[in-house]
Amino acid sequence: MQAEMIGENVDDRPVSSRDAETPRLRDALASHEPALLATARFLVHEEADARDLVQQTYETALRHLDELRDQEKLLAWLTTIAVRAALRRRTALARLIPRFMSGGFEPRYAAPDDTAIALRAAVRGLPDRVRVAVVLHHMVGFTVRETAVAMGVTENTVKSELKTGLSQLREKLG
C-alpha cells in the first residue's frame, strides 16, 4: 500500500492535511515539481509517462499528506512516491491495450556536449533497478539508506546495484 510505504522513516511531527492550505507547503510542493520531473525523466523512458508519473505522484501525495512528518524531507518523500509508482507501473500489464513497438523517448533537450549526451544515453540504457539506484543516489543525492527505503530493498542490494551501475556506465562510455 502506498500509505504504508510513504509513512516510513519519519520523525514525530505530524503535518495535518490542512497544512496543505498554507502557502508555505503549497509553495514547497510546487517548487519541487521541476526536480521531480527531472527525476521522472530518468526513471521512465517516455516523456508522456514522465509527466504522468509526476501528476500521479502529486495526487498520491495530496491524498496522504497526513503521513508527511517532516516538511524538510518533502522532496525525498515525493521522490519515494514517484519511484514506487514507477516500479509498480513497470510490472503492470496494460490489458486490452496493445503496445506496439515503442519508438522510445529521445530527450528533447540535448545536453551541451557529446559526453553529456553519451552519459544520458548510457543512464537510460541501464537495467531498470540499476538505473533507479544510480538516479536516486548519484543524481538526486539520496543516501544509500534512503535509496534502499525508496526502492523497498536492502542497503546491500543498493550498493550492489550502484557498483553494477557505475561499471556498466563505464563500459558504455568506454
Partner: protein, 247 residues
C-alpha cells in the same frame, strides 16, 4: 569533459549529478505538469481573497468564457477534414455536456489538456491501462491522446462477427500516445476504446484527421451483453469531452 575523464567513480558520480542538475534547470523553464491538480486540490480551499487574487479570478473567468467559445469553434475551424467520409462530422460527437465541460480546459501540454473541469486527463497507454485495470465500477475518467487519420487496419476474423457492432474489437477507436507523423515516435501504443451502446462516436470521427482528443470512458458498462465474458473490464466511451484542431 571527455569520456576518458569519467573512468573513475568520483568523476562519473560528479558528471551524473551535473547531468541531473541540468535536467532540473530544463524542467524549471517548462510549464508546470501537476500544478492544475495541485490547484484543484489545495488552492480551491483557500478562503481569503486578496484584491489581486480577485482581479485574477475575474480575468480568468473572462478568458474561460472567450476560450469556451473558441473551443466550441474548434471542429469547424478544423476545416473540411473534420467531416467524415460517412457524412458524420467531428462536431456530431460533441454533446452539449461535453461542450460545457470543455469550457474549463486546463493548460495544454504537448497538444493535450492536462485537466478539464479540474479533472486530470490521463495520458499514455501504460497509465490508461493501469487506470482501466484498477477500475472496479462504472466511475468514469478522462483519457487523452491522438486520433490518427485512417485509423488502424485491424484484421477482423469472421468468427468475431457474432458480436454486435458495439462490442466488436474491430469497432474500437484508437487513442494514440503520439500524433501521427511524429517521426520520433512511429509505432507508439494506443488505447482501444469501445464505442458504447448506443454508439457514442462515429468511427469516421476518430479516423478523419490527426487531432488531439480527450474522451470520458468507464468500465463496467451497464449495456454490456450478459453473455460476453470479461465485458465489464472493457474500456467503453461515455462521451467525447474535447477535440483539438486537426493537424
Amino acid at each position: 569533459m571527455t569520456h576518458q575523464n569519467l573512468m573513475d567513480d568520483s568523476a562519473l558520480a560528479l558528471a551524473l549529478r551535473s547531468l541531473y542538475l541540468d535536467e532540473v534547470d530544463v524542467a524549471r523553464r517548462e510549464p508546470p505538469v501537476a500544478l492544475g491538480a495541485l490547484q484543484g486540490s489545495v488552492q480551491a480551499r483557500t478562503k481569503t481573497w486578496s484584491p489581486l487574487a480577485a482581479a485574477v479570478v475575474v480575468l480568468a473567468v473572462a478568458i474561460a468564457v472567450v476560450g469556451s467559445q473558441l473551443v466550441r469553434e474548434v471542429p469547424s475551424l478544423a476545416g473540411p477534414e473534420s467531416a467524415s467520409p460517412g457524412g458524420g462530422t467531428a462536431t456530431g460527437s460533441l454533446n452539449p455536456s461535453a461542450q460545457a465541460g470543455a469550457s474549463s480546459v486546463g493548460p495544454i501540454v504537448d497538444g493535450i489538456p492536462v485537466t478539464i473541469g479540474g479533472e486530470r486527463v490521463i495520458r499514455g497507454t501504460d497509465a490508461i491501462g493501469q487506470r482501466i485495470e484498477n477500475s472496479t465500477d462504472d466511475t468514469s475518467f478522462l483519457v487523452g491522446g491522438w486520433f490518427h487519420k485512417g485509423g488502424l487496419n485491424i484484421l477482423c476474423p469472421a468468427v468475431l462477427s457474432y458480436l454486435s457492432v458495439h462490442w466488436w474489437p474491430c469497432s474500437t477507436v484508437q487513442v494514440y500516445e503520439r500524433a501521427q507523423g511524429d517521426e520520433q515516435h512511429q509505432g507508439t501504443g494506443a488505447a482501444w476504446i469501445y464505442p458504447g451502446d448506443p454508439l457514442r462516436i462515429e468511427w469516421a470521427t476518430a479516423t478523419a484527421a490527426v487531432r488531439p482528443v480527450v474522451l470520458r470512458i468507464h468500465t463496467h458498462d451497464a449495456n454490456c451483453p450478459a453473455g460476453l465474458q470479461g465485458c465489464s473490464s472493457l474500456p467503453v466511451l461515455v462521451e467525447v469531452v474535447w477535440l483539438g484542431p486537426a493537424a
